[in-house]
């Protein structure tokens, strides 16, 4: 194909090329227009707002980079940034491990396989507010089923899941894992089904045990899916908002206040849209950096 186009006279080749480019552009236009209107424009507008004091009465005055300076001088920013990352550290690994275990179980020939798979996937269909209210009730210290269950298991002390510093992050993690584990599981299931059965058969003949089969065949076979999962989970954990907003209100105190909730409160509740826009831009840059680093790391291994 390439050979042929080189043989053509230069002018015609150029014309063809322009045509092809135009065609390509035409193909992406349906995506590009909504992307520009609903993503690029808000980002640019947000950047513009972040350079001003801006409140409910609209633009007040231009302050340059003052908003950014205020962000970095406020210790709350670092605290809430850390909270967002803390949730990545506990949320992402747990949901990936749980999802993998579920996928491995369901991949076996067990009874009611489809039913079980649907049951685990169902919560993912619900919206964040629905799952948050469900778990808000479940974690109720006095009348909640979770403490009642623990009572049956012999732990009679009422655990204040949502108002005790020691438990609140776990409560959020449990609720989030329950909600999203189905999606993780389905991706892993797809990955598992791509691994050829003859690898396992060959390993069995060679006398490999279950554990070494998992470690040397399943895990490498899942590595591509795993990368996508980690990438996706890190981003979605960083974006934690709905669960803490509804279940804890960022509390006790500000223990579960995350970056997104910080931005929300600054903008919509404290009416400081300029500062909130600056916070979003900063957080957006941080997330982009993380995405780039992850991309580079996984690329190198390939």
């Amino acid at each position: 194909m390439n050979m042929k186009s080189i043989e053509l006279p230069e002018k015609r080749a150029l014309g063809n090329r322009a045509k092809a480019e135009l065609k390509a552009i035409m193909y992406i236009v349906p995506f590009l227009i909504p992307f520009a209107i609903f993503y690029l424009w808000p980002v640019l507008r947000g950047t513009w707002i972040s350079l001003h004091v801006w409140n409910i009465q609209g633009m007040q005055r231009y302050v340059g980079l003052d908003n950014y300076k205020r962000i970095f001088e406020n210790s709350d920013f670092y605290k809430y940034l850390w909270n967002s990352f803390y949730f990545v550290l506990i949320g992402a690994p747990t949901v990936i491990v749980l999802g993998l275990i579920l996928a491995l179980i369901i991949n076996q020939r067990i009874w009611f396989r489809t039913l079980i798979r649907s049951a685990y996937f169902l919560p993912y269909v619900l919206s964040v507010s629905v799952i948050s209210f469900i778990w808000l009730k479940l974690f109720d210290p006095k009348n909640g089923p979770v403490n009642a269950l623990l009572g049956l298991l012999g732990i009679h002390q009422d655990i204040n899941w949502l108002t005790d510093h020691r438990f609140v992050w776990w409560a959020i993690t449990i609720a989030t894992d329950w909600w999203t584990v189905g999606f993780v599981m389905v991706l892993f299931l797809a990955g598992l089904q791509e691994i050829p059965q003859d690898h396992y058969e060959a390993a069995t003949i060679d006398g490999a045990g279950t554990w070494s089969k998992f470690w040397h065949i399943t895990m490498p076979g899942l590595s591509r899916v795993m990368k996508i999962q980690v990438f996706y989970q890190v981003i979605s954990c960083l974006k934690l908002f709905g669960q803490v907003q509804i279940m804890t209100g960022g509390g006790p105190g500000d223990s579960t206040n995350t970056m997104i909730r910080y931005i929300y409160v600054t903008g919509f509740k404290k009416d400081m849209f300029g500062l909130a826009s600056a916070q979003s831009i900063v957080f957006c840059v941080i997330m982009l950096l993380i995405a780039v680093i992850q991309f580079k790391l996984t690329d190198r291994k390939d």
């Binding site: 489809t114 798979r117 108002t163 105190g253 500000d254 009416d271």
Partner: protein
């Protein structure tokens, strides 16, 4: 196997259907759909079809039922206007109302607290109500003078005040009886009126009736119980010229220590997320509750609940107060503005009585003078307590300031910060807000 697959599919389909359906119903409540529809209807110029207006409010729990009654009463009383309400969660109400007002999409008439309207008025997002009122024959002179003054900017009223509301001390007579703390006239028997005296009383209740909270404290909205006692102690949020914070002082500190003692001695449960329900269900002896809860708490005599003005624990009777008002956004069409004004007239003149039943002290002086109102239980106490309320400082930044206070106080009561550091930090934040 096939049967199982089918079961799974049906389950999923059923779930999806429920979600889709609930999605539909909520968007119908959203107001925009319905208002567009009625626009289309009215475009024909037929005056026979009623004007439909959307009414936003944040009245949950006890008050909500009374608002429902008023709206139903209004819709049944005439054929020209239909009011549809959208009830929003109170903690997020102003985030949503503010967004609606600045994006010109939302309610045709809305409830707003008097201390929140100033920025909306200055941004020209609300219409003055005087001309509209006279158009529909609503005499604003009925509204008590102090109430109308609180919503007047440049000589024009921008809202119709509905009430004054504040907190009372509610008490459970059964629990106090068990603790031997009930006088023969069914009022609580207090130790001497001081923080220590009050804590003593709570301690007696805890000893005598250990399976209830001696006092339910409004931990989720802790700024309210805090401000009540802080105002009693003579404190202020801002300096008299409104240029500096005035909250970092010994008075605030002693109030915080007082509540901390209540929590740490387990007179109140800091983990209780619904203290109002706890008290209403007979599981707490005392409760600093809003007058708006009176309809529910005092209306049911089986609950054996009484009410009195907040005791002067920190010295004075001064306590927190605010006022609900009705406002009309400026993006609303002339026709709907008039419809909204008719609703305002009804809410004030006729609904005022129902509103008084809910517990608020109505702003319409004709209602408060009526025999019907004065025959309601404990209302003489309410009128008494209304005299000593302290309203929010008149600043455009009140929304920002009160949110900051609410957040800092949560940090202090949950011991993420010491009271001293927390107050210092709060002072700094408020000063920053005022400087900008």
């Amino acid at each position: 196997m096939k049967a199982k697959k089918k079961a799974g599919m049906i389950l999923t389909a059923g779930m999806a259907l429920t979600l889709a359906l609930s999605g539909c119903s909520s968007s119908n409540n959203g107001g925009n759909d319905t208002s567009n529809k009625s626009d289309a209807q009215n475009a024909g110029g037929k005056s026979s079809s009623p004007v439909e207006i959307t009414f936003w409010n944040m009245f949950g729990g006890g008050e909500g039922d009374f608002v429902d009654q008023i709206i139903k009463g209004f819709n049944d009383s005439q054929q020209e206007v239909i009011v549809k309400q959208l009830r929003l969660e109170s903690n997020e109400y102003y985030a949503k109302l503010g967004t609606a007002l600045s994006s010109s999409k939302g309610p045709d008439v809305a409830v707003a607290h008097v201390d929140r309207i100033s920025p909306f008025v200055k941004a020209k997002q609300l219409v003055p109500v005087d001309e509209l009122a006279s158009k529909v024959g609503f005499d604003l002179g009925q509204i008590s003078e102090s109430n109308i003054k609180s919503v007047t900017y440049d000589g024009k009223p921008y809202a119709v005040p509905l009430d004054t509301h504040f907190h009372m001390l509610y008490y459970n007579k059964d629990i106090l009886q068990k603790a031997n703390l009930l006088n023969t006239d069914e009022t609580p028997k207090f130790d001497d009126m001081s923080p220590d005296g009050y804590l003593n009383t709570l301690s007696q209740i805890k000893t005598a009736v250990p399976d209830v909270q001696a006092m339910a404290v409004n931990t989720p909205y802790f700024q309210e119980p805090f401000l009540n006692m802080y105002y009693e102690a003579g404190g202020d949020i801002l300096s008299p010229d409104m240029k500096k914070a005035a909250i970092n002082n010994d008075k605030a500190l002693s109030v915080l220590k007082f509540y901390d003692a209540i929590y740490s001695n387990q007179y109140a449960d800091i983990n209780d997320k619904n203290p109002w329900d706890t008290f209403s269900n007979g599981k707490a002896a005392f409760w600093f509750g809003g007058v708006w809860e009176a309809g529910v708490l005092l209306g049911d005599s089986a609950k054996h609940i009484g009410a009195m003005p907040l005791p002067a624990i920190f010295g004075s009777q001064t306590h927190w107060g605010s006022s609900h008002t009705l406002v009309i956004p400026s993006y609303v069409s002339a026709e709907k503005q008039e419809a909204a004004a008719k609703f305002m007239k009804y809410f004030s003149e006729v609904g005022g009585q129902t509103w008084g039943n809910a517990g608020h002290v109505p702003a319409n002086s004709k209602v408060t003078a009526s025999e019907e109102y004065n025959n309601l239980p404990y209302r003489s106490f309410f009128i008494e307590a209304q005299k000593t309320v302290k309203f929010a400082p008149q600043t455009d930044n009140y929304t920002t300031i009160i949110t900051t206070i609410a957040e800092s106080l949560q940090n202090i009561i949950f011991h993420n910060e010491t009271a001293e550091d927390g107050l210092k930090d709060l002072e700094k934040q408020i000063n920053e807000i005022l400087a900008n």
